[in-house]
């Protein structure tokens, strides 16, 4: 897990290094969106992702009544 997070951190640094020069002349909103999405992705890898509840768990819960109909 530790190595995965270090690897992802390196990837995040690489992505921001590559994209930032192109983003410089773009409006503030674009920069904010870029930073927000990148940080979101980076922070997600802090968790033990496969073993915590995520969007697919959420969909499994809300579609439960429909799934029961299929059986």
């Amino acid at each position: 897990m530790k190595w995965l997070f270090i690897g992802i951190t390196l990837v995040v640094i690489l992505i921001s290094r590559l994209e930032w020069p192109k983003l410089k002349q773009k409006p503030k909103k674009d920069k904010a969106a870029f930073v927000f999405l990148l940080m979101l992705g980076w922070l997600l890898f802090l968790f033990d992702l496969p073993h915590i509840a995520g969007p697919s768990t959420f969909f499994r819960t809300i579609y439960k009544p429909f799934v029961a109909l299929l059986k």
Partner: protein
Amino acid sequence: MLEKGKISSFQLAVVMYPTVLATGFLVLPSISAQYAKNDFWMTGLFALFSGFISVCLAVKLHQLYPKQNLAEYSEQILGKTLGKILVIWFSVHFLNSAGLITRQYAEFVSGNFLFKTPILVIISSIVLLAAFAVHGGAEMIARSAMILTPIFILPICFLVLLIPDLDIKNIFPVLSHGISPVIKGSIGPQAWATQLFIMSFFLPCLKDPQKGKKWAFVSLGAIVFSMVFINFIILLLLGPDSGNKTYPVLTAFRYISFADFFENLEALLLAMWVAGNFIKIAVFYYVTTLSIGLCLNLTDYRPIVFPVGLLIIALSLWGIPNFITLGQHARTVAPIDILLNMLVIPIILLVVTGFRRATKQLKP
């Protein structure tokens, strides 16, 4: 509009074929065989129906709101707040779908061929490749599909080599349990066929929009034909055992032994399916990026391509501890999820538009 590239309607058809079938070939035969038993070859025919509806919906909505994609016209139809919520919902749906597709592909590769490779390596390499395609825009995806889709279709031709091993007795008795197991089994193929609605993101960048409908139907026809053909071959080869196989098409390919020369074709199958899955992942990745870009009112979607890729990698792992959970998700939850988002919500959008236009005409 965020996308400036231009594609032709023939390219649209070529893109949509692997978009539906890349994971379709992996999971659909066994999903439908579990419900419909020896009648599962019919399930593909039901897909024709729902695929037809979703193509009509996409084309109709595009006619009413020309040069706009799903994310743009849903704001116009439902109003600012509700439209925004719907776009966020669609972004989450596409992001989650992209993650699940990537995971399905990675589980297939790591479970059958690259046993010792960590799954993260497989996931991140295909997402990186798809990221470059998405960076190039719709045109890049369309052109790579022009090259890769023929390679993806090729394995179907190899299945003809199995004809000497087929046993026609396996399809009898036809419909011995009535039609309802077949309808239940067809929910998977129907859901996958409604993914054709994703073409609403490509319709605005068509060079020849008037031909879009025709080529989408050609693509749908090819998809349904391939589904029925593959199901037929698997049924006649494996018989009642088809539902127990994780990847029946792969099993069928392992079975091919023709003239002592065409053997161990599964490696070839993998090489070809990587091509198809690449297109599927790239299309979903592109659609996700575009809808997130529209949702946040960005001027260009290109800068957020790599961050979104990171999110797709996260979502391909998030909440899915093992293959069993993924298989259950693909069998039960995914069809309902796709049908809701790609069929029910577009129908609601169309009804609301019709209602709005009708009330506008009534007012003097």
